[in-house]
């Protein structure tokens, strides 16, 4: 019997083979072979083009993600604690959750111009309601008994927050982080495609106009690799550390 790891590896090989076989059969520029894509990827890395644009996109991701998470956690906790505030802002959230990403992006560019801060703002507005809702639900689910314990033992506000509240919110924050990264990656490319002259989105737009599928796929591979690296090197260790007490 194959172990699950071996099975996963095997399935990956099959996927690549399928791609290879299909590319050779079709034999057309619109579907290059994996080897050609890897060659292009290497060229792009060597020329410095890919690191440059990927780096810029990553910076935008970091900025908009941090802002959205920070604001989202703050507002989410507030709404989770305060029922009246929640009742007041609930329909705002519903509206913002349902505005299509493209609309906010266009509006931000129209209102603020084709500038960096408008791009970041558009991403933040798209992501923020998701974070707020997730953290709000987490705050509502806080264990009242533990909070009572903290109060009766006279815990300071910071002690209560970091040792009683935050560990309970952790799964919700991680959920918001994971879904957030996935969402922001996709939105940020559209933002760059529509109104920036650098970044992955801009490059993809360029390759589209040239019908350069090999480059598009090369950038996609770089993209997937980065997301996996973030998951394995940052998120997983964070999870393991915070959840070590679980059975």
């Amino acid at each position: 019997m194959l172990t699950n790891k071996a099975l996963a590896f095997f399935s990956f090989i099959i996927l690549i083979s399928l791609w290879y076989g299909l590319a050779i059969t079709i034999n057309d520029n619109t579907l290059p072979t994996p080897t050609l894509v890897l060659q292009v990827l290497w060229q792009e890395i060597e020329s410095g083009q890919l690191p440059h644009h990927l780096g810029i996109t990553l910076l935008r991701l970091l900025a908009s993600f941090s802002i959205a998470m920070f604001l989202g956690c703050g507002i989410g906790i507030l709404l989770g604690i305060n029922k009246r505030l929640d009742a007041f802002f609930d329909n705002w959230l519903v509206i913002f959750l349902n505005i299509p990403a493209l609309v906010t992006i266009i509006l931000c560019y129209v209102w603020f111009g084709l500038i960096e801060s408008a791009a970041i703002l558009a991403v933040v507005i798209n992501k923020l309601p998701n974070v707020i809702v997730t953290i709000r639900e987490g705050t509502k689910a806080l264990d009242k008994n533990l909070l009572e314990m903290a109060r009766s033992y006279n815990f300071s506000h910071s002690k209560t927050f970091f040792h009683v509240i935050w560990p309970q919110l952790h799964p919700f924050v991680m959920a918001a982080t994971r879904s957030g990264l996935a969402l922001i990656w996709k939105i940020i490319l559209v933002v760059e495609l529509l109104g920036r002259s650098d970044g992955m989105g801009y490059q993809l737009h360029l390759f589209f106009q040239l019908f350069d599928v090999a480059s598009i796929l090369a950038y996609t591979i770089a993209f997937i690799a980065i997301i996996q690296a973030i998951e394995l090197l940052i998120l997983k260790p964070l999870d393991n550390k915070a959840l070590r007490w679980r059975r």
């Binding site: 008994n145 009766s152 033992y153 002690k159 040792h163 560990p167 007490w245 679980r246």
Partner: protein, 245 residues
């Protein structure tokens, strides 16, 4: 540290169908220094409400709680019905969190030893039995050297042998480190085993029905027959407490 005066003029609450209920009316209690007092009363009579008022978790009442000679907020060691340990902190970390920073470690070591938990100090609460978790909660309460210890039926839902074991450990610990204790229970045998004084409370609105001393010497409390005889005597001499059990 000296006696604690409890004087609650009224505590009302509003039920979900928006009717006003009086939970406590004119309740006066005096808890002498380092006495072990058991509150006995029917379930739902407001005993937990009373403890929450004393612990300053509930300030919606008229009246006053005062500790003679103490002008700052009293330190409360509250042992809840459920252990209320933080699952993401080990036994030792849970106790440490309740203490002020720079507290010497010796007190935790000696308390862990008294409660026979030294071996488990680095375990997470999920790996403890219920009896062990209760013991950790007891240590946490004693560790802060409280002005008053509040215990809200802490041995409920333990099987009889475990409950007896934890009860004995608690008594030993309390005799080493005397504190004023207010212990809520509806089990008269348990109350007689533990208490210097029994206070019987009526159903809502809560009031004191009887205030009786338990004069069994401490070294005879392990004898179940003595406890049972005392209980029978109590019930014959004070027939009105029968309805409260």
């Amino acid at each position: 540290m000296t006696a604690i005066h409890i004087d609650i003029k009224s505590k009302t609450y509003t039920s979900p169908d928006s009717r006003q209920h009086t939970a406590i009316a004119n309740l006066k209690l005096l808890l002498p220094d380092n006495e072990f007092v058991c509150l006995v009363g029917p379930s739902g009579c407001g005993k937990t409400t009373l403890l929450n008022i004393i612990a300053n978790l509930d300030s919606q009442y008229e009246g006053e709680i005062s500790i003679e000679g103490l002008h700052s907020a009293p330190k409360i060691g509250y042992i809840f019905q459920d252990p209320r340990l933080l699952p993401w902190r080990t036994v030792r970390e849970n106790i440490e969190l309740a203490l002020p920073a720079q507290q010497p470690a010796e007190i935790i070591d000696s308390l862990l030893e008294s409660m026979q938990l030294t071996k488990n100090q680095n375990d997470y609460p999920q790996h403890l039995s219920l009896g062990m978790s209760r013991r950790v909660a007891i240590i946490r309460a004693f560790a802060i050297n409280p002005d008053i210890l509040l215990m809200d039926e802490p041995f409920v839902s333990l099987d009889a042998p475990t409950a007896r074991q934890v009860r004995d450990l608690l008594l030993d610990l309390w005799q080493q480190r005397p504190h004023t204790v207010l212990f809520v229970t509806h089990d008269l045998r348990e109350a007689i085993t533990l208490a210097d004084r029994l206070i019987f409370l009526s159903a809502a609105p809560m009031a004191v029905v009887s205030n009786l001393e338990v004069n069994i010497p401490r070294d005879q409390r392990h004898n179940e027959l003595t406890i049972e005889n005392f209980r029978q005597k109590l019930l014959t001499e004070h027939p009105k407490i029968k309805q409260l059990l």
